[in-house]
């Protein structure tokens, strides 16, 4: 078995105190009064699944179901309270495209900066520069500061960089809402092609139709638990039925 992502018995607890104390004074006062309450909130509890190379998997669930926390654990920006998260291979995150852009830098400069943030060297980016710009359809604007780009242009550049850098796992989080219809179609084609090339796709979306179209498998999370894990059509239908039931109650 060739698993690229292995999630075993993962739990993630947030300590609520950490969200509240923001100043040194508050902290000291609470410390003195022994009022540092550590009420926990479990965003994920005992979640296990693994993803094989070349799979396309969607994470679905309501707001607050733990999808984003799961993505953060996989991306390595957070460490699980319990259990083990193992990722083999590099990740290209497409989470909120353009989060790493500096508005004052030009598109060109941002390509290199963003590439470096994803762990790629300048020379590698240089080799891919032209096709990145061409794909993003930004040739006339590449030397303009990104602050004057439209949100669609930023998304295009971000998507283009993330798909051009060589990564084993592509993480897409609710981003394709930006960009016009044509570009969205182009994105889907690219993701399809990447899947064909043995890359792994992890997709998070509330758009069930998108999920069905793009992913073979879906994992449905609710309040930190895995409700269902299987073929995306089945899981999506179960999720929709459950949502409808919830609405009626």
């Amino acid at each position: 078995m060739d698993n690229v992502i292995d999630i075993q018995n993962v739990s993630m607890r947030f300590i609520m105190e950490q969200e509240r104390t923001n100043t040194l004074k508050e902290y000291m006062v609470k410390l003195v009064r022994r009022k540092l309450r550590f009420s926990g909130f479990e965003a994920l509890s005992r979640v296990s699944f693994s993803i094989e190379r070349g799979e396309s998997v969607a994470l679905i669930g309501k707001n607050g179901s733990g999808k984003s926390t799961m993505l953060k654990l996989i991306a390595g920006v957070m460490e699980a309270t319990e259990g083990s998260v193992r990722v083999r291979g590099s990740i290209a995150p497409l989470i909120e495209l353009g989060a790493g852009f500096d508005p004052d830098l030009t598109g060109r400069e941002n390509v290199y900066l963003n590439g470096a943030l994803l762990g790629h060297r300048r020379r590698y980016m240089q080799e891919n520069f032209d096709s990145i710009v061409e794909y993003a359809e930004l040739e006339p604007f590449i030397d303009v500061p990104v602050r004057s780009y439209s949100s669609g242009m930023i998304a295009r550049l971000g998507f283009s960089i993330a798909t051009h850098v060589q990564a084993d796992i592509l993480v897409v989080d609710e981003v394709l809402a930006v960009g016009d219809y044509n570009f969205q179609q182009k994105c889907y084609r690219t993701m399809d092609r990447m899947l064909g090339a043995g890359r792994t796709l992890l997709f998070v979306s509330h758009d069930i139709n998108q999920v069905k179209k793009l992913c073979r498998r879906a994992i449905w999370l609710n309040r930190g638990h895995v409700m269902a894990d299987g073929p995306s059509a089945e899981v999506c239908d179960a999720y929709l039925a459950w949502m409808k039931e919830q609405e009626e109650n």
Binding site: N22, T23, L24, A75, V77, I91, P93, L117
Partner: protein, 258 residues
Amino acid sequence: MKHEVIMTIRYSHLIGELVKRDLRLKYRRSFLGYFWSLLNPLMMMTVMMVVFSYMFRFDIENYPLYLICGQTIFNFFNESTNKAMYSIVDNGILIKKVYVPTCVFPLAKVLSNFTTMALSLVAVLIVMVFTRVQFHFSMLLFFVPLIFLLFFAGGMGMILSGLAVKFQDVTHLYSVFTMVLMYATPIFYPIEAVPEGVARIIRLNPIYTIIYLFRELMLYGRIPAVGAWLYAAGTSLAMFAVGAVLFDRMRRNFIFYI
């Protein structure tokens, strides 16, 4: 910690890109551009020279050079640590999304300020030429105290950036701290001007030791005693090590606060 060190080395090109960004943006949209790195210290020095030659007089040989040496070093420390302090908070969105070894942010800030300081050394050179300082071979050692300073500021920057994530107060406190530090560092006055008891404390200030080394080399062409070198090297490396260890303990919690 070991893993983080390896990752930082692997991401060293990211530090390079971040430094490049800072340098590009620093003088973007300004007419004189990098020339400011040279002009600014000269203008500051002139102002201080005028103030301190008419109001408070100190008996210091080659006062302009004395001033600009101290000022260059102190300003670098002040600016780089201040910028580093905000570096994690400012990159919060990014840190939440993509894995990067977080220490690259404060370290890149310190390095980009170090580069601009290196540029403003030309201003020091200009003052040396103008005041006709005699050339000594010992002057070629000028970079050694600056390297110590780089490590010292790097350690301090890591500590501040980590603390500022959890406690905003640190940013306010630090501006007061740097003001105190500025007066406690003989930049525009000679150490002989303060009572011996105070001078003894000032000599413990690592920033002052670095300024002292730099001045001895550049002003007088003397090679300072071994003790001062060792003290500066020891405090700088210790500060860097403590900074790295503390940062490593804090970084795990960044995600919960940014």
